[in-house]
Amino acid sequence: MIKRSNWSIPYFIFLILFVVMPLVLVAVFAFQDGSGRFTLANITRFFTDKDALATFALSIEIAIENTALCILIGYPVAWILSNKKYNHSTVTIILFILPMWINALMRTLATAELFNMLDFNLGKGTLLYGMVYDYLPFMIYPIYNILNKMDKSYAEAAEDLGANPWQVFWKVTFPLSIPGVASGILMVFMPTVSTFAISEFLTNGKIKLFGTIIQENINSSMWNYGAALSLVMLIIIGITTLFSHKEEENMEEGLI
């Protein structure tokens, strides 16, 4: 007889092959020099390499700006979509999610062509445009979800207690929607740190992000340094994830 726990074996193998092994390989390469000897040089090189550090700082800056823009644009959109008064059909919601069905690279290339055609100066502006365009749905959806599922009686109760619509939003609706904003941030911020395609196409390689230098190193067979950079990035992303997870748990507790 096959035990039920055996059913998980294929998934276990999958995890080993495609998640654990690559991670181990990244770690191993990061601590080796070209001839396979143990070294910390790759890590120390990053922390002493002014260019790499500057690129890293820029990546974080761009990611923060992108995330902030996504919240500023995405929150009102999600709010309008979840409001029955303004939005009567699910079609509008699908329209906002629709771009996700098309490959991000394709959209980015198309956007770049559009800017070229219009003779736009490719730079930070176009980079942010492309990023917001790519990641906005990831911000809208979780916020929309939480607003849509929110018990309408909270807003009614606030109004009943004397809050005008503005106060209802800031004192009740917004605080209760923070878990949605948190998962939106998670879904936008982390991938933007490591993105490289968007910056390459939409700035013509003028602006280099952290993802770009990793890709360059690996492309030019400098696997060890590339792996070290990846490891640093992984650790930083890991820390932000842990941090926001904690935040989310706190919020969810409050929601039940």
Binding site: E156, E159, L161, G162, N164, K171, G254
Partner: protein
Amino acid sequence: MANQDVIIDIRHLSKSYGDKKVLDDINFQIRKGEFITLLGPSGCGKTTTLRIIAGFVEASDGEVLLEGSDISGIPPYKRPFNTVFQRYALFPHLDVYDNVAFGLKLRNLPEERIDQLVRRALKLVSMSDYESRDVDSLSGGQQQRVAIARALVNKPQVLLLDEPLAALDLKMRKDMQMELKEMHEKIGITFIYVTHDQEEALTLSDTIVVMNEGRIQQIGTPTEIYNEPQNEFVADFIGESNILNGTMVCDRKVNFIEHEFECVDEGFGENTPVDVVIRPEDIYIMSKLEGAQFTATVKSCTFKGVHYQMFVDTDKGYELMVQDYNAFEVGSTVGLFIKPFDIQVMRKPRTCNSFEGEIIDSTHVWILGESFECRETSLEPGTKVKVDVEFDKIDLQDHQEEGTVDGEVHFILYKGNHYHLTILTAHGDHIYVDTQDIWDKGDLVGINIAPEDLIITECND
């Protein structure tokens, strides 16, 4: 003319959602300091009425006057009312103290004043020790108390309560009922209470407004509603009752279950068909037969705690429910007696079905949104007619497709020896049916009427 005591005056209130009319010409007044209950089954419009008063729903027609002035255009946050919601709607991101202080903080009161008022409100609902607790760590009853404190702390002119006890268990509900009543007496503000629980309404209210299908059925004190129901719906909905067909022979004399009884009602005319309501506790039951008005055989006897509930078959074959402190043996013959003032006589709202229709051709008539075969008529096609059908001449089929029209069993009334059903057709018409067959509420039925049972008369206008 305006009564000084009236705080809220509801006039010709109607509300429709699309084609569906949920409120139809609601009129009533609420006096200052009154505990008024809107009572009815789910979907009767009681909650909609409350939400219109609170300002969350806009009426399609009619007005709500607060101390003589129309408040229709005023948003909820400017109305001097506060609501206790059915599922409390306590803010999960705030603790007990901040929930209660929510309304006060919006009014920018000084910190010390807020503190004082919040503590007083929490004390009123016996929740003083819970100030800094998370609201979701509280039990249902505790959440309820916080919700009441949160509403009362703002000193509303009227407190609106939307089925506030529905989520609590029976014991808790009874305790909270007493507390609410005490609170109402202590603070002296007007309470508007919505519930589907008739017992709760009878216990708490000064005035009950019984509603069904968007209309007011009766307004009165709990005793009036219980002892003198104005129609069969109220009689059936409030408490247990025997509802029977009867005939008013003359003043103070009524005939039902094929016996003649003395009663206290006058002014119905002679030989008028009426509905008679007798509460099961108002039928006197005894083992000796002399002195009894009629006899019956005990069919079943169930212990209900305080009393026994018995079903008896009368000598003329009617079934009655009787409640008494003594048990009577099943199968035994008993004598029964009803005192004149325990007999509640109601005018019948109708004595047969009456439909508006139009002649299609010499053998067909258009009623209830379908073509029905009828007896040969000489009326011209297109003539507007009134079609009457006796209650017992309507044939119900188990399968909808076997009927000319289909409908749903909407309301069932047992009348001692038959059932009186209200069928709601797919087109929204009501058909009333007398039948011996047992149907359940919500059953889907096909409706047929034999051609000879359609009594057609021409409309004059």
